[in-house]
């Protein structure tokens, strides 16, 4: 198993957002989902750059919808997580859970100080 089989932090968030949104996952909804749940401002450029990278790795796939006038005649690009992507999410989650196991994070920093 290589390090490439694990998702980076932002990749992890993106894949989880796409999974949550199911068939409504496109740039706007993915960006808003991450922003609303993590309370951190996310740029659409970062979302697309990560989705392109995930697509190149085979973790997500995309298809174009119909162009609409309110989008300046441009199509929505819908994303879906592949089986390989789900496997990568599970592996990353398990790794994180394994690292968290037995840790008592509350007050850890105060104890150090």
């Amino acid at each position: 198993m290589s390090s490439r089989d694990y998702l980076g932090e932002f990749e992890h968030l993106i894949v989880l957002a796409v999974l949550r949104l199911a068939d409504q996952a496109y740039g706007v909804t993915v960006r808003q989902e991450i922003q609303n749940r993590t309370r951190r401002e996310v740029s659409i450029g970062a979302v697309y750059a990560t989705l392109d990278r995930l697509e190149a790795k085979g973790y997500v796939k995309s298809c174009l919808g119909d162009p609409t006038p309110e989008r300046g005649g441009r199509s929505k690009r819908f994303f879906a997580v592949t089986t390989k992507g789900v496997t990568a999410v599970n592996r990353t989650q398990r790794a994180l859970e394994s690292m968290n196991e037995g840790l008592e994070l509350a007050g850890a920093i105060d104890d150090c100080a």
Binding site: Q32, I44, G45, D52, T68, R71, S75
Partner: protein, 212 residues
């Protein structure tokens, strides 16, 4: 009370910045930005939406640049190397021609102030013009990734100038450095402007073709 503005349009320069760096595969990104901008303009007002659009444009451009480079690293590098070699070969030529003319007509003896102008600012202005032409060349050579190639070349030159500046400062030649830096900055901006002209021209031509 919230002001509803259905006619709000994204800020032109921010939208242009995104279009310059977005590839053909990023068409949906432009639509997403417009969709969210329109939603925000109708709920929070045009000013808030414009500020949001500017933030998105400035934060997205580096990602679009990196993504554009990653999608075609070898062809972009080839264009950057060609551009750099052109700088090395062609840039000294106009300066040599300029000084040849100045000496031929003995400007130094007859019009000293004119000579000083051409020997300093005049030569630097020729460099800026050459940089813009080089930006056009890079734009023409880097098909569909005009700004990615031009920005990479500018970053390479920026890195080299940075290293040279450190060397000059450590040797105590900082006065010459401060007089040259503004002209270097003008060269780089002119290079990016040249590539942007080619990019804008190509986009306008492809839009006109699609419109037919």
């Amino acid at each position: 009370m919230t002001v509803h503005d259905d006619r709000a349009k994204p800020p032109c320069i921010a939208a242009w910045l995104i279009v310059l760096f977005a590839s053909a595969e990023d068409e949906s990104l432009l639509g997403d930005l417009l969709e969210e901008f329109s939603e925000l303009a109708s709920t929070s007002g045009a000013a808030v939406a414009r500020r949001w659009y500017w933030r998105q444009a400035l934060q997205s451009t580096p990602h679009l640049f990196v993504n554009g480079f990653r999608s075609a690293p070898w062809s972009t590098t080839a264009v950057v190397v060609a551009g750099y070699l052109l700088i090395k070969v062609l840039f000294p030529l106009p300066e040599k021609a300029l000084f040849a003319v100045l000496h031929r007509y003995r400007v130094f003896d007859r019009h000293f102030n004119v000579y000083v102008f051409f020997a300093t600012d005049g030569a630097a202005m020729v460099h800026v013009l050459m940089s813009m032409l080089l930006g056009c060349f890079v734009g023409l050579t880097a098909s569909k990734r005009e700004m990615i190639a031009a920005t990479t070349l500018v970053l390479v030159l920026l890195g080299m100038t940075g290293a040279a500046s450190v060397a000059w400062v450590t040797r105590g030649n900082s006065s010459m450095l401060w007089s040259m830096l503004p002209w270097n900055l003008a060269d780089w901006l002119a290079m990016l402007a040249g590539a942007a002209i080619i990019r804008s021209h190509r986009l306008a031509a492809s839009t006109a073709t699609l419109g037919r």
